[in-house]
Symmetry: C5
Subunit: 323 residues, 5 copies
């Protein structure tokens, strides 16, 4: 589905154009065409391939989808795959979309898949900064990258908030089963984010310093800025995964500690009642020569004795912190 | 066993030829011969060695089999070892075959071992793309690599599906013994795949960018595409291994949590019955001066008292979530 | 908020100047202006951007704050983000502030955020070493870096002291719940420090050896010294994190060992009382033909027997170290 | 102890020579001397040092023994330390010997220590391939390396077989104590192998590709082949160590699962008997007004009631899978 | 405290000189002065700084002490910090001293801190090898490094011996509490050694191969030898840390296994006595119509029945290996 198709010259918008006129504008000096598709059909992609001379392998990747994030050079053009991460409100999970961006000296083609998040805002912001847009199609790639990466921040923030909630539960309330399931789920979501971020870092790293593709030459500092954001997110994810691992371990420790306390309490009460039962058993025997059974105050004395022993045990266990 | 032996010139099939005529075609300009063997005998390999001038060490590796995946340069020719991974339907495990590929400027020799998966489809696809096949024997290597790597995807998918099944079991039903055995088995299978993929990545990485062997010069972008697929699989395996490790830990946690709950319940019921038995023991003693034994309503009063105490304990344990 | 604004020439202070006169001094040969802001407003930052020609992205980072530590080159100028770590006395936690430093050939601008720690001492020390300050604005960057990094040492020392306290608790007293919570908290604080140190190491590493930015040329040895301090802190943090991991594991082991001992003791006492109760039960049966019940010394003999068996069991358990 | 001392020229054996004549042959063009010692005395080593001009530090290393595997260049000569790993039949462990090889343009000196494995076979194989031996002393180094590395394969195979045996035990029979001890022992043996292989990989890696020592120039492909074998072994060891770690964890899980099952069974039977005893205790009380005691069918009714309750409990526990 | 101060020329000792005459000797061709200090005062260091023109930062490091090991270049001179590790006989721990070495073309200054280990032996050994000492001050640095590193070997050996002792305890006797405390302590000591060795490896690595500081040029092979020793120690420490981690895990497993066995035994005996008590309870009931109570052989029959049941249970548990 075509979202829009606009020609730019020297940083300023020339015109909204139809796909048929792309070839006219592409050949103008200092001019580039920016086409945005969403959930493109194979026909649309093929049309674009002919219009811009896209590489067969890149188009194949865009068609198949489900690629890992990457930025690849094909001759003088670039092919970028980015993951769109958005919280999935219905299922409480994470939805992963994909944007494929083809960038040449005189064109930018972005194809958005399986995501409702659009990039209209990116286009507007670019058009408001003509002095930057003048540097060419590479700046558009930066703007798209920046928009995609900026959307990772709220996702990682949400994960961190949930981790903190679970942490509080671990040390206070007693729902270890629930905690561990949430931690497991959290780790899984962190992994999804990780797999969007880590390969992208590698790709963006090649767009500044050292040998940089021609189209990105003028926006190096900007790509370094994106890389810096990615590093920050990546650092947060790694820290979070490490913390989740520790939290699972700590949760297990807390369960074992609780079991330990219950075992102690069980042992204490079992002892107290066993003593009581043993005494009662002794005086419940049917021997004939048991003089204490005949004493006037035998019974109360026995009760006092039993209670004293049990009380003493209770006192000892109490002091030891067992009951 | 010879599967087939075909000569190609400028991307087009010249003829099915017999092994004896290989040397005639090899010397034609722009011509290369593609020979496919399966479970080759030492004699066949020796014949090929003489025909194509293969390096002694490479032939030795092909003969011994059970090599780790690799891509090695011998002068101007390449020797590649690839693992063929196929689900083993009978045993529910994984079967590992091997393809050894020798590539020179004017020949490709593939030797398939211990696997029923053939490469006829690869040859057909190559012949349908003469403009690519024209780039030479390096493209055939790419086509074989691509076919082998594409077969890894369903294997990793199957592993991921099974992992999800086990995950659901961990948090719902109670078959920890079974879960852990399946997780262990799964990890083992993931390792088999890992050992097919990781060393191959290293090898393929040398076929694009930087200094590339002559025969692969024209297909660099294609080899990068294969590398990208391998990275994706490798990433999935690493994530899976990490997840399996966590799942084993989580499974242990769930067992400990369950044990904790049973210990609590045991402690609770033990207390209740111990109280009941202790009271009964007291009134079962044979002292003479036990006035309550003579009371008209002594027995019902005792029963009520015992039941009240036990009931109160039950209520307390219930509220604490122990029973 | 402007803290101060001073012009220096050849290592000596020229004058405290107002912001309006910055442009006059910046153009003098061998002269640079050092401006210090705290919690700067966007207006102040914008003013500075115009005065010194700061790069848009760097100013944006300084405005947003919450950056990861980094040292970035923008043309001939540098932009550094440093974390200020100070123990938070009230909450027992750690407070993380931020200093953003812009360094050009003829200016240094430091912006301090969310921290009460000032840098007046740094300015004084610099002014006392005119022979070093003469090397230019790069030395001021070093002095600020050095001051920031020096403040990490007491933080890591405090963490190490607390770790030692917990370690002693693990092996002596019995507060496993508390220990594990403190270890968890400690790890979290170590992570905060780690995230201040590790990215900074990367940044400082680019300021000595190899290709060094022009403004830092004369202070290379000094930056290496800072890097060395950072390496030391980083090594301490890594060792601490490793130790905390082990300590959590050890704490769990200690809990399990304690549980084991209690289980043993429980088993021992349960056996002793069970034997006692079983004997008493036997002689409490109502059979008629129980001759021992009629014996003169039946009762004492029974008591002696019961006590002997129980005593023997106790002796055995004692020797086995169970009770 | 001198094993043998032979002079070779252009790949062919010239003569068995005595140590005194070494200097005569060493100076012949295209000629090299191959000396093999076993458990050499300091005197023998000193003699060889003078004969071949060995470097002081290398000779010192050979004398002290217990070096880590390495391949070092001293000017134009090489010094290699290799570990000889052989299963120690008597103790069921692993015996680690050492071979020190000094290689110069016109000599090879191998010194074997603490091992009964000889290298006569290597010499024979070399002499049967004069076209390869002609490339010089570097090929002898390859032949020795190859022989040493080939002997690692049966060792790692034996470890893998044992690991599989233990794995079967973990999931079937119940000997967790034994399993864990065997796993620990296995890991230790894997470490011994690892320490023979990993440093050697590093050393051999320098003998092909890039800057290669002069004496190994002609045998680069062969050294790459050895490196490939080492990589395979190294990969197997790493996989095994990872698996052992998981197996220890799994074994612990199985123990905990078994404990869980026993706790359940204990809890179930304890409940059943506690109920039985409590009922009996009630009717064993000595109250007067207990009408059921006088009933004609009181006793059988009581027995039926007790058995019914116990039976019901048993049924419930059975269904829950506890007994 | 000045230990000694000697001038050397062409590898031979010239004279013991006083500090005042240093400047006379330093300017002689082919001559260098070797000064040894112990626990130097700031005054002594300052004097040396002026005498040899030491870099301010290096002197500062030497004054503060507690540096991490490193080897730094300051212009044409080197500054090395080494850790002196010695077993602390009194506390059973490890004492960490420090040697700071300043090396220039014509001087060596070593400053030893917080350690009783001296370097007189090093000086003697150097003087006995004039042909090596002739290569200059770099060789003295090697000799000091070698002496320091050689002293690490007995420390690591002692740690390995203790690890083996603990390992034997883990699988035989039952002192898990003690084992784990010793393992923890061992790991801590291994860490101290690690922190002495790992950074030093990095530093020494720069003294051979590639770009080597001028003063070390002639002793490259010797520094590689030190590096090799450090690698060996580092490998041992890493292996030990890995083993300690496994040992802690195994120790926990052994505790759990023991607990499992005790739980089994407890369950078994509890069952046996519970059965006995239940039977006795039944016949202790006060029902009237209990015909077996009146039977002549009722009592012995009851005893036989009880014993039979208990005996059968015992037999079953025995066979299952529970008691």
């Amino acid at each position: 589905m075509l979202i829009n198709c606009v020609a730019y010259q020297n940083g300023a918008k020339l015109a909204d154009i139809s796909v048929d006129h792309i070839s006219d504008y592409v050949s103008l000096p200092g001019c580039f065409v920016w086409v945005a598709l969403a959930d493109a059909t194979p026909q649309e992609l093929q049309e674009m391939q002919q219009e811009f001379g896209l590489h067969e392998l890149a188009v194949e990747d865009a068609q198949h989808g489900h690629q890992r994030p990457k930025i690849e050079e094909y001759g003088n053009s670039l092919f970028a795959v980015l993951h769109l991460i958005e919280p999935d409100a219905e299922q409480g999970g994470i939805n992963v979309g994909e944007v494929d961006v083809f960038v040449g000296a005189n064109y930018v083609l972005s194809v958005r898949n399986r995501s409702k998040l659009g990039f209209l805002g990116v286009r507007e912001r670019c058009e408001r900064q003509p002095e930057l847009l003048r540097t060419g199609s590479g700046f558009v790639l930066y703007a798209l990258l920046d928009a995609v990466v900026d959307r990772y921040f709220p996702v990682i923030d949400a994960l961190e908030v949930e981790l903190e909630q679970i942490e509080q539960q671990i040390f206070t309330k007693g729902a270890p089963h629930n905690n561990i399931q949430r931690l497991y789920e959290l780790k899984r979501r962190a992994m999804v984010l990780k797999r969007a971020v880590a390969p992208l870092m590698e790709g963006v790293g090649k767009l500044h310093g050292g040998r940089v593709p021609q189209v990105c030459m003028g926006s190096q500092d900007y790509f370094r800025d994106v890389l810096d954001h990615l590093s920050r997110i990546n650092g947060s994810i790694d820290a979070m995964r490490d913390t989740i691992g520790t939290a699972i371990q700590v949760n297990l420790s807390m369960v074992t500690i609780e079991e330990n306390e219950i075992t102690k309490r069980l042992a204490a009460w079992a002892s107290i009642f066993a003593v009581c039962t043993a005494f009662a058993g002794i005086w419940g025997m049917n021997f004939e020569g048991m003089p204490e059974l005949k004493w006037a105050y035998g019974y109360p004395a026995a009760l006092v004795l039993i209670l004293s022993v049990c009380g003493y045990l209770y006192y000892r266990f109490r002091r030891a912190g067992w009951v």
